[in-house]
């Protein structure tokens, strides 16, 4: 199966995983966004969390577990093309002031999360949304299938 991607990436820090869990709970329970972790986009970038809303809205959340983690990332702008709303997410102990005010911001731990600052709504191009929805429909199927059936390989 093509491009399954790991559900849990061993390179992720424990902090990032806690934030991921809280972000996904928040998006699912409060905003009715069905969430994928670790979605590789056509650009090659991998979205930490990608949510799909009931009308096909796409939110991308980029998790930053530390100041250095944020500082070394010079390409987060690319996520805007692949989402309607874009958020950074941080653990409670990280200073909110390091993040650009132009973007959404979420605080989360392993139990829950909250939106600290909403994201501007910048709708995706329709063709890109359509292509992404197909990609997600196939990605979700493959991620479950490989769990249902380790397969003959």
């Amino acid at each position: 199966m093509a491009e399954l991607g790991p559900i849990v990436d061993l390179r992720q820090s424990a902090t990032a995983l806690r934030v991921q869990r809280g972000v996904m709970r928040l998006l699912r329970e409060t905003y009715d966004m069905a969430c994928y972790a670790e979605v590789t986009l056509r650009s090659g970038r991998r979205a930490d969390v990608l949510g799909v809303g009931p009308k096909g809205e796409i939110w991308i959340v980029e998790i930053k577990s530390s100041l250095i983690d944020f500082q070394v990332d010079r390409k987060w702008h690319e996520y805007r093309e692949f989402s309607d709303r874009f958020f950074f997410a941080k653990p409670p102990e990280l200073d909110a002031g390091i993040f650009p005010e132009s973007e959404g911001l979420i605080v989360a731990d392993g139990h829950d999360g909250a939106i600290l600052r909403d994201s501007p709504d910048t709708p995706m191009a329709p063709a890109r949304r359509k292509a992404l929805m197909l990609k997600l429909a196939r990605l979700g199927a493959d991620r479950v299938h490989v769990l249902m059936d380790p397969g003959p390989k």
Copy 2:
């Protein structure tokens, strides 16, 4: 999370589960169709296997494990509206002659499968395909999410 549906339905017979496994392997490996098991459609019917192709093609496979299983189903025609191709699938020991020649037919066991008769291509309405793709993108996310995180409930 809404409408997760069981990945394995305990009402399914062991035979049906074996056929399901072989059908999903066949579709994924030979036809590049990413497969979901047990997808509830808007009509309320539940597709045994639903495959999503690289261009958004939708195939539905209805598993019949016995003659009586086929005979009691008077509503399989409804699947045509929700798919581009529709197949029955049967275990090797079940007579192929009981199935209508107008529909596709797959034979499968727990290891592998084969298409015995291709299905006519009857393209879905675009709006229905779009709605189904969104539904699948969210269903796949939710099925994986609930495995990643049993949640606070």
